[in-house]
Symmetry: C2
């Protein structure tokens, strides 16, 4: 029988980054009745299959009425092979103009199979040889590390600290890498309500990061899945909105603002490439050999949602925005009640200004075995921060996601988590150790 060993397969398959996702999915499947603060999934209360049909119809009508297509042409768009760069580029750029103040030309857009494909396309393009390195602000989304592994691109993390970015450290790392003969091609950052930290960059840090990228000649990969979900009405400009030097490759996601099931994302890559149009055109060449094109049916569903709300996803997501604000407040209040600042718990947390996540610091090792015990004995799931960074601080830190829960589930989940914490305090059996190997 044909068999193989993992050691005979691509190195990414032996990498903890790829196992992380699997482990976290498996434990969620093993404890379906646990209250889960783990998944970064959008709220499900407004899902309705009729919407999918409605959105499809809207896009069909848009092609017929606004764009003057014949019925045969509409059929061809939805059924047949299509343009590699996508068929909703004009609607994507209208949304970016309306919601983000980003002026993007449709030809700089490649519509992708979720933002994850966009990440891989960019890294595959930028990884020319062994010198090339990706920088990430850490803690970082597991998906960017995984995509880099698939592109054989080393990742160098620079701890973002409480401000979400440490510019002197980033500059120092860039210079050190160059001195070693390596090429930091780009720095990955989530400027708004980052996953996993929940932190947003200050407007001053955003401008300074752009200046640093220009001075040190690297690209910024701005991933923005949560920007719309601000807990107040202030939304600082995205990096791309103030990017006068085409330093920013903008990674767009409709997973949280449209729906995950469409698997539609996009990349804005308006950097000129000598002899090759825009970077977007090069990314499209890669995409033509990776997924050919993004399903036009899936694109139509997202297009229909955009069209239903005048291409504003801020408008489209008003009910969701209200839910996430309510949940964040409920979580912060619930934490304060259960773990008062003057109490003995030793548990603290940050106060994100929006998004899906916050981070707890805890006085014990928050590792996978504790997560397993938490699920089994206390019925509550969360994510060890060590899945997102190798930093020492992450060993006693936990990501709590509050996007998919009801207020009652948040309360119940916090009660269970408090019971876990009390049990640990009583037994004193999971104190920080030095022998523990972080996952990555």
């Amino acid at each position: 029988m044909a068999t193989a060993a993992v050691a005979d397969l691509h190195a990414s398959l032996a990498d903890p980054a790829l196992d992380s996702m699997n482990f976290l999915n498996e434990i969620a499947n093993d404890y379906p009745d646990a209250v889960s603060f783990a998944p970064g999934r959008p709220y499900e209360g407004f899902f309705d299959t009729a919407l999918i049909h409605d959105y499809l119809h809207r896009f069909e009508q848009h092609l017929l009425v606004e764009r003057g297509f014949t019925p045969e042409q509409v059929c061809r768009v939805l059924f047949q092979y299509g343009r590699t760069k996508g068929v909703i580029d004009d609607l994507v750029t209208r949304h970016l103009e309306i919601d983000e103040g980003i002026h993007a030309e449709p030809e700089s857009v490649v519509v992708t199979v979720g933002c994850q494909e966009a990440m891989f396309l960019v890294l595959r393009a930028l990884r020319a040889d062994d010198r090339d390195v990706l920088l990430t602000v850490t803690p970082a989304y597991v998906g960017i590390v995984g995509a880099a592994r698939l592109a054989d691109m080393p990742v160098v993390g620079v701890d973002g600290g409480p401000a979400g970015i440490d510019l002197p450290a980033l500059a120092g790392t860039v210079r050190r890498l160059r001195a070693e003969g390596r090429r930091p091609r780009a720095c990955y950052v989530v400027a708004d309500h980052s996953n996993p930290s929940g932190v947003s960059l200050s407007p001053a840090d955003r401008r300074a990061l752009l200046d640093l990228a220009a001075a040190e000649d690297f690209l910024i990969l701005e991933d923005n899945p949560y920007g719309l979900f601000s807990a107040d009405d202030e939304r600082p400009p995205t990096l791309k909105a103030i990017d006068s030097g085409r330093r920013v490759v903008y990674l767009g996601s409709f997973a949280k603002t449209g729906m995950p099931g469409a698997r539609v994302g996009y990349v804005v890559a308006d950097q000129p490439v000598a002899g090759g149009g825009l970077l977007a055109d090069q990314l499209a060449k890669i995409k033509s050999m990776l997924t050919v094109n993004t399903s036009p049916i899936a694109q139509a569903v997202i297009a229909g949602k955009l069209l239903a709300h005048g291409c504003s996803l801020v408008k489209a997501n008003q009910p969701e925005i209200a839910v996430y604000r309510r949940n964040l407040t409920r979580l912060l209040e619930g934490l304060a009640r259960r773990f008062p600042a003057d109490g003995p718990s030793g548990i603290g947390w940050n106060r994100p200004r929006g998004g899906f996540f916050l981070v707890l610091s805890v006085p014990f090792e928050a590792d996978d075995s504790l997560l397993e015990r938490s699920a089994r004995e206390f019925g509550v799931l969360w994510t060890p921060m060590r899945h997102f960074t190798t930093g020492a601080a992450a060993r006693c830190a936990i990501r709590l996601s509050f996007s998919v829960l009801t207020p009652e589930q948040i309360d119940e989940g916090l009660d269970r988590f408090a019971a876990l914490a009390a049990s640990i305090a009583r037994r004193g059996d999971v104190r920080p150790r030095d022998t523990d190997t972080p996952l990555r």
Copy 2:
């Protein structure tokens, strides 16, 4: 401004394999009124947007009625993030059982974003280091070469000749590569109505290929987009159907049998991996960092089509099968009338037993500049065979696709092509040259 040069990007972007697809798409866009024997696209006469809604409803009903899902669970399947390996694996394996006699366990299936993603997943997994090589039977589909380029995996072509495979040459190449310290990990082959040659392997060659793969320890990547479209009622078994040693990784496509716009394909990878379940599980780990999961909405559309026809795509495609048979006959008869065997044209062709393609041999260089002239002066498009192989014979060979045309278009296209051939014969200006560099 941030700029780059193609030379600073991944090597695949300077590779002719990736430019091939672009060139062919561009010339099709530049001459929209030409009769095109170029694209390998399914027939459009049965497209109807109402079908998409109908298929979606059918899958929703299937989940509710046959699988006992609640309406909330149905919504979650379609809207939310989902299983990396897909949500229609059971329907895919039923189709394989019914239409192909392939017994596949659902856990060996990964549903992918078209067959193209399946190719990349497999090559990314198999490419462990610089020794690893992919074999292809040539002429070969451009997409497999492109996917190999993205995985940094060298491709060694072995000319298939008129039988579609040359087993002694393949065995010799495998042994030569091993003697050089390289590892031929797999051989890519389309056993049925191959793209671009139209050739099918004989039953004896199928068995001998499986024996060779076992003896020489390599995998077979069987790609089968056209197998259902037989011009007679005989369909030899696929390699996977007679694969008793799990040597075959089966690359499945719904682009021609379902619809291209769904962008849904799959891979059956039932090879055990020491310490890692099946090869399918390893492919799913890669997929989780490439596209996360295939859009469940797109999967639902394909599932609905399967459910509407008892999971038989042979049944579902009876009208299309009739069209492709009619077109093949029309094309063969039209060629015979215009280029009689005892005439002076010097033009010959093979007689495929089904599929979308046949190959002409012509007494002149069939290159991209002649294609351009053919489009401009004669209004007819075709594909130079040199896009699919470097072999000398390919320089004077042309792929004609007949899948998307009406009988009238076939006649008109052949008239135009005959005018081009007559013009060349008169002017004698495109005779075979030795200085011509094949595209790849």
